[in-house]
Symmetry: D2
Subunit: 382 residues, 4 copies
């Protein structure tokens, strides 16, 4: 796909995603780890203005000087910014103004792409579009969290359940022990954390071709999984006790039946569908209960040609750390990934909330082990 | 004023107050002690539905059963309710729906007032309208707090500064020692906490006819008022240290000048205008610095015929406690005031944000001593 | 009693109180509102050194310059001090050294009393001894709290239960409405907060001659007292919910029976004995349940000639505020009481842990409404 | 060394370590991650009683049934236990009783070793002694933390500075790319986390033969190391800002000079001595500033034959995760290591506080990345 088509396609998908929202929905930020929809749509636009137009568009006139302050994220290199925890308190500029901002930036970006096809610019645009795809997924994920706090379980879209997927296939992939090559190579886009390609030594291992289902997880719950400390990591057990945790996020037991909140409203949990919204602690405890373990990210990458993936982000037992030879780029773009390489676990694959074509088998997602709000599931290894 | 006119007048003032708002402004609740504008306008309407229409309107059909759950406040008597801290996360029903709710309730209330003029109903309506006037003031006060978090200081209305008032008059009122009568008597409306009328013994005291000005408070600041522990109550000093407090709320020192955020935007602090947005700790420390003290609520009530009041809520040195013979009414209406009679200080008078005619000299407002967000000021006694 | 005898008597009582302790017991400070025994015995000694010997003993040589830093309390006027929360982490100087310090100060104080009998000195000594008596009570009260955390309920002394007292007398004292005189007058010692004598207007009221018993409070518990929000102040109810409170402090339900931890170990709760270790929220809820109220501190003071008191500190419904004409003394001594006059409730009377002769009917004790660890009980008014 | 000699040698070293302490020093637990000395000496003894004597000594009579409750640690398998945060509040049993407990256990252990020389028992004894060696180090490390809170910097022992060590040697070890063998093999003792031996692929890398000195770290500080966010991991920067961090733990700037608290008191920081008491965030930021990185634990293990180690625990850039084939043992012994394999980083080597002979090159220590209180330093790789 040419960049100009890619640009139009990504930008219009964001607009499609916010179409079902009311203005009020754009504002709340109930937790620090989430962001309001308004912020997501402004921030992804700000990226193009601040990283591209200001430097590459001849005579570019900033849309509104305040936006750079309000809508950057963790880019400490670019001026001060509002406290991350207060994003939901900033009502002005409003949604309409932010959409004007998007239009203004789109016009300039499209004009710029017509006049400048340098590799440097192309690379930045592709980075910006991948960045927007990540925020599309976060927008959906954060919105689900906010909606879930409403005691009347609002419907985002009847067609957007996202939890109904089932496994195809069955059985196990078997990997032989030995040296394998890991990481991205080729001409396409990848993030800095997928580089550079390097060798790792893999043990003999079997990896499930299917993800854990709701039914299997219900068996874990019914067997007392949330009451047996010896199944859990020490931190995981503290999390269970402190939060009186009894089930995955968004599950509700009503008159003896398990329901789950989806973006299409509250529905019965389907035993055959793939489990979702578990954190690393739950994934590790479940694997432990089965007498198995989670795959490492390297085992996953090697085996991934042999199973379907992309319905759930899959917790691996690998910490998010740099590959040999990892280099942080200079300046704000360099703040992208490297500085998060501590206390997070790698997830591989992708989810039903991920933009089509966004992920790949070398893609490294990462979250703190206690987060459940992602569309995350479990694949077993033994 | 007849109740029907009073009703129309109060309800339309609420609508006038929200006229300058954008939809986005109706949502955020940045702190637990504040509430979103949407909640204020729904809750004041809910009061008429739940306390009046459901019991008095023949065959009344509830507008939406969910609203009773979403928009009651501290009335534990009436079913469960959403967590007070999560009011800002509930986006649905939206503002338009809440305004429909107001219209629906207004139609029924006006019809009810035509058909039923019993004293019991009249009293409940007057209570509901006074309740709405209180929330009008809270709406403005909470909104100012939310807007103040926006680094670009939004303007609510150019005509709504609320901090420009100056003192009229000068000198001191002198009260002689002796027994005086305190509390409300008469046929008009009052809250339960103003009853019953009773006697108190007042010492000889002088009370200032004017409120403390910004200029006088700047002198306190410049003399090191926020650095001298011995001017402060022990808790006040902890508050100063923990928050690195250096000035009243909403004050900003920019290039050596004091500015303050108002609902008309950021303006220079006027030395002649009346000080606002200090908490009890600051009021007590300032009085201490002057070698004076704050009046008690009883001294204030007796002296108040001799000075102008109503621009600022005035901190008194009286704790919020029941009058002799105070009785809590049965049921939800009884939850109004009595249960807050601990750890709060009484404020007397009224502020520029208070609805005209709402307050009176026996009126007892009350807040925790660390809150600054009210339109609160200082009157001295000696 | 002459000062020299009073001095010896108070100081030796402190030593008797610590006699049952092991060295280890002198160290822990499990909560910020309590202090370790070592600190109490050092701090009361420091008072004599810093407030008296340094200024009045000719050529006085400080025992150890570090002690002034380590063992002052809230006296901000006298240099920096260690963080109140870290008193339990300071192991050196040890107990033996602190006892040497006591001996050294005692020798100098006794010598000073021989050579100087000025009124100013006498007054300071009496203040210091009353101060020590207050800390004797705190030492016992804090120690009980620390011991209560030990799952094996240590015995401080078999003879020191302190919870077995029963009521003498019965019935009600009736006060007529009218002006009464409140506050201390005379030549003896009193604290600044008892001054000056002044008039108050008292309503007609009946005050119980007896304190609430354990049995009466058990009835409150069994009737669902801790489950009915409408009996409680709003803050009280939050305290019940947040702490899952179900009974007074130190009560344990074991196999269907109520036990309480005493300084003589765990014992069955005696229905006939006087209730202890309730906070103001519990006292107010109980009174509410009985359809009565707590007396004000003024009503208490007037009625107290007509009943026995001194077994429990009695919660009143008066906030701790200054009397008319209250003046804070200059310097460190002035930090004694005035700066705590916010967010605390007055307790009158005295407890079985109070030094004999220490309290009087004008004595004003005060604590935050959520504290249960005092030997505090309930007297009703109606 | 025969087990009986090993036993005597380890147990007597613990006693030597506590010899300089006063009784008071055995009590405080200022932070949840530390434990009081009394607890360390009781807990290490409890291990022999609960894991060995109760199961292997014929007719063994428990010393005191309460001790099993009071002095186990994280072994959830063995009954309830006191809250980890309250260890410092339990004064009884006292130190003397705990030392009697040690004597009683020693007598029985020595008798048991005479009568039973089975491999199973031997293995448990060696585990218990290694466990005690770990707690010897923690005792010293925790004690230093407690003492450091005393504003007068107590001296534990004039001969026990522990921060004076200097580097021997210079230059870099160069490792070639390729498959290497990692993990413990042989007949001696190792922990479960060092097993099983397996292959890893190492990149080409150079590893410093020396550890970072105080002087090099002072240069980092002076260059603005603690003010430049782009040198830090995102979490590390939050830690710097939240704690206003400016130097390693225990450093104090006094009149322009850096001092550090040691167990021999406050001393000038020696530029030539090896840096100590930095956390992982500081280690990573320093490496980043040098344009280098930390070694992985695998690189460290391979290179460690070529440099001196043992003065400081060395932060690696490896997360603490299981080796391929890692198995958790059944029962309480199985709780040893596996359940901590999340959110911690591996440290290799050993420190001057580590018992001689306790560590080895395959030894995996681990701490949370924000902890500074360990004797931890930095070795660079490039």
């Amino acid at each position: 796909m040419k960049n100009i088509d890619f640009y139009k396609s990504v930008r219009s998908r964001t607009e499609a995603l916010i179409a079902p929202l009311e203005i009020e929905d754009f504002i709340p930020q109930p937790v620090v780890f989430g962001s309001p929809p308004k912020w997501h749509i402004a921030h992804t636009t700000w990226f193009f203005e601040d990283m591209i137009l200001k430097n590459h568009y001849p005579g570019y006139k900033e849309f509104d000087a305040r936006f750079s302050f309000l809508f950057n994220s963790y880019y400490n290199n670019i001026g001060d910014r509002t406290d991350r925890a207060e994003r939901g308190d900033i009502t002005r500029p409003g949604v309409e103004k932010v959409l004007e901002y998007r239009t203004y930036i789109d016009q300039h970006m499209l004009a710029l792409m017509e006049m400048d096809s340098s590799v440097e610019l192309n690379d930045l645009i592709v980075l910006g579009l991948n960045h927007e795809q990540q925020h599309q997924e976060l927008l959906i994920t954060d919105l689900k969290y906010t909606f879930s706090l409403n005691p009347f379980f609002p419907v985002y879209s009847e067609d957007f359940n996202l939890l109904a997927e089932k496994n195809a296939g069955s059985g196990w992939v078997e990997l032989e022990e030995g040296v394998r090559t890991i990481g991205f190579a080729g001409n396409g886009f990848c993030y800095d954390n997928e580089l550079s390609q390097h060798k790792v030594y893999i043990p003999k291992v079997q990896i499930a071709k299917t993800l854990v289902t709701n039914g299997a997880y219900m068996d874990f719950i019914e067997s007392g999984g949330y009451e047996k400390f010896d199944l859990w990591l020490d931190e995981g057990w503290s999390w269970v006790v402190a939060n009186q945790q009894k089930a995955p996020m968004y599950w509700h037991k009503i008159e003896g039946q398990w329901y789950q909140y989806t973006l299409a409203g509250l529905v019965l949990v389907d035993r055959e569908a793939i489990l979702c919204h578990v954190n690393f602690y739950e994934a590790a405890a479940f694997a432990n209960w089965k007498g198995m373990r989670l795959p490492t990210e390297f085992e996953w990458e090697i085996a991934s040609d042999h199973f379907e993936w992309g319905q759930r982000w899959e917790w691996t037992n690998s910490a998010y750390l740099p590959y040999p030879g990892f280099k942080i780029a200079d300046g704000a773009v360099g703040e992208y990934n490297g500085k998060f390489m501590i206390n997070q676990m790698v997830l591989r694959g992708g989810s039903v909330a991920t933009a089509k074509g966004h992920s790949r088998k070398t893609y490294r997602n990462f979250f703190h082990p206690h987060y459940q709000w992602q569309f995350s599931g479990i694949r077993l290894a033994k």
